[in-house]
């Protein structure tokens, strides 16, 4: 061993690694002993807390209202003497662990930290193994690969050479089809074509040599080997070239496939197959989405949607819909529409009366004095707004009869009800109540009241 070769050589990568570690340690601030100011602490916490109403943005980088509130809360909690951990715990107790941008190093979240490290280590290990194997085998580039193929061809049987030729022809055809479909660039296609053409030429020579040796051919035959092989290869390549110039009307596989081979489906067929699948999937998803989001039409709503109506027409439409819902036994939905009408027209006596009547029914069922009182107030208001509103009169009379047992007062309301010419159907429904009130009040039942 010479002095030169025995001298200690300190690896450069160790020096680079040491510098990197030192820079990271210094940059992380762990060596900094100066205590942080409240503003620095707040800034640090704010970069670790996600803006509640944003996507992947810290509160430090967001001007959303929720982010502003979180920032002010963080500063307030710091001023109250809370530690960083306590502040983060408080926010987690409100928003959940997703509010912290830095995942915790415990539980399942530990995987977030470990998986990238594991994946990186695995990738480095695999790369190392591959490089070592390549170095051992001496195959480090395309030239070596070609040499290895040539070595394989030398020892191959006639059947293996045939199979390899078919493979190369198929490879040429595939490259052409991919190029035609736009999946392969011109440059890549030409490179692949040159490579496979050269391989085919070399293979043809090898095949003719093998045939010749097997048949103990003459020197003359051997001399023509190169010519024959070249012609065969050129014929194959010319077929591909012709298909190129023809614009690819026929699948290239069939143009270059050896006789007897079964051509596989072309790329365009595969694409059609996948495209059909995608369209069918999209259509099915569309049907599901429409079914999920389609809303039920409200009673009285036209099938063609909601045309623009005047406010009065909208109110009348809402009142009609509410009446239908009420008749269908949906008082809550009906009440919502009456409330909506009152939002537009607070003095609408129809909505006030109907809402009062619904409240009375609910209140009497639940024996709620406060609700009954609210209902009565609404009915009084409706009568004041429109003394000829027959429905309000009927409802108020019924409340007076049922709750106050005041038949005379109820009759007074019923007289106003009859004077307002109510519809026959309503008169028929109210007949028994009217007869009861008039009888209890000792008054004759008017002839307008239908008999039982």
């Amino acid at each position: 061993m010479s002095r030169q070769s025995g001298r200690f050589r300190f690896p450069l990568w160790i020096v680079l690694g040491a510098v990197l570690v030192a820079a990271l340690v210094i940059g992380s601030g762990v060596l900094n002993s100066t205590p942080m100011t409240p503003a620095q602490r707040a800034a640090g916490i704010e970069t670790r807390i996600k803006c509640p109403s944003c996507e992947d943005l810290s509160v430090a980088n967001s001007s959303a209202q929720t982010a502003v509130v979180v920032r002010s809360t963080v500063r307030q909690l710091i001023s109250e003497g809370r530690s960083d951990q306590q502040i983060e715990a408080y926010l987690v107790s409100r928003y959940g662990s997703a509010i912290v941008l830095v995942p915790p190093t415990s539980g399942w979240s530990l995987l977030v930290w470990l998986l990238p490290l594991g994946g990186g280590a695995l990738a480095i290990a695999l790369l190392t193994v591959v490089l070592i194997r390549k170095r051992r085998n001496g195959i480090v580039g395309p030239a070596d690969a070609a040499r290895a193929e040539a070595e394989f061809d030398v020892g191959a049987s006639s059947g293996q050479l045939d199979a390899r030729r078919q493979f190369l022809e198929q490879s040429l055809a595939d490259a052409f089809a991919e190029h035609r479909a736009g999946d392969l660039s011109d440059q890549d296609y030409q490179a692949l074509r040159r490579r496979d053409t050269a391989r085919l030429a070399a293979l043809d020579i090898r095949m003719v040599e093998a045939d010749d040796l097997a048949g103990a051919g003459s020197v003359a035959t051997v001399a023509t080997v190169a010519t024959v092989a070249t012609v065969a290869t050129v014929a194959t390549v010319a077929t591909v070239a012709r298909a190129e110039s023809d614009g690819g009307a026929e699948p290239v596989e069939s143009a270059v496939a050896p006789p007897g081979s079964v051509p596989g489906p072309s790329r365009s067929r595969r694409q059609r197959f996948l495209m059909t699948g995608a369209v069918v999937s999209f259509g099915a998803a569309l049907v599901v989405v429409v079914a999920l989001f389609a809303a039920n039409r409200l009673p009285g709503q036209t099938p063609s949607g909601n045309p623009t109506l005047s406010q009065q027409a909208q109110i009348q439409q809402s009142l009609n819909q509410a009446a239908t819902l009420e008749n269908e036994g949906q008082p809550g939905a009906a009440a919502q529409l009456y409330q909506q009408v009152l939002g537009q027209d607070p003095q609408n006596e129809v909505a006030i009366a109907q809402l009062g009547w619904l409240e009375y029914q609910t209140g009497s069922q639940g024996k709620s004095a406060s609700l009954i009182a609210d209902a009565r107030a609404k009915l009084d208001q409706a009568v004041k707004l429109n003394p000829t509103d027959y429905a309000a009169r009927l409802y108020l009379g019924t409340v007076l009869l049922d709750q106050d047992h005041d038949a005379s007062a109820a009759v007074a309301q019923y007289q106003a009800f009859l004077a307002a010419n109510p519809p026959a159907s309503l008169l028929q429904q109210a007949a028994s109540l009217l007869r009861q009130a008039y009888t209890q009040a000792g008054m004759p039942v008017p002839p307008a009241v239908p008999t039982a």
């Binding site: 509640p52 929720t66 809360t73 595969r270 197959f273 699948g277 999937s281 009456y338």
Partner: protein, 180 residues
């Protein structure tokens, strides 16, 4: 060989798509999701503040009935979608000791929120939450967000997205069954 592979890939894509459609179709609704919250099962943060009318309002720590707390904005489409159902729910549960509604303005101007609530027919208290403290206390990230608070003051449900009166009925029935 290549053709077979493409066929199998196509079949696999179709199977995955069909499975996805089946899963999506099986979901009750894409617009509403009862989700997990750290507050679930814990005492609800205090509900107090100023209403749109300028009056003070607060809910007792143990209200003795269910309280539905709804964070909304007038411009948000899912809020507009659920609004009528909230009014229906409020009407159907207005008997004393049943359930009450409280709304909180979240990311909206007070005038727009007031007009919206009036048009909707919402007669329950609507808190302004001008400093956003109530939204932070409840960890609200999106609108609409609805909390159901049990009579004992614990958070029984946390729903993100438009709710219906039936959704709330189910949540309350489940909470009653749990506490029974």
């Amino acid at each position: 060989m290549g053709g077979h592979r493409a066929r199998w890939i196509g079949i696999a894509v179709l199977v995955v798509a069909a499975g996805l459609i089946a899963v999506l179709a099986g979901r009750p609704s894409a617009s509403v999701a009862e989700v997990q919250s750290p507050l679930l099962g814990h005492p609800a943060p205090a509900i107090a503040g100023t209403t749109l009318d300028g009056a003070g309002y607060s809910v007792p720590t143990a209200p003795g009935h269910f309280v539905v707390l709804n964070f909304f904005a007038s411009w948000c489409a899912p809020c507009q979608q659920e609004g009528p159902d909230l009014v229906t729910f409020q009407f159907e549960h207005q008997l004393p000791g049943d359930a009450s509604m409280v709304s909180v303005v979240f990311g909206d101007t007070l005038s727009a929120a007031q007009t919206y609530q009036k048009t909707l027919g919402a007669t329950w208290p609507t808190l302004t939450d001008g400093n956003g403290k109530l939204a932070l206390a409840y960890g609200v990230t999106a609108r609409p967000t609805t909390f159901v608070i049990a009579p004992d003051g614990r958070v029984a449900a946390y729903i993100v997205g438009a709710v219906t009166a039936k959704d709330l009925d189910k949540v309350i029935a489940a909470a009653k069954a749990t506490h029974a």
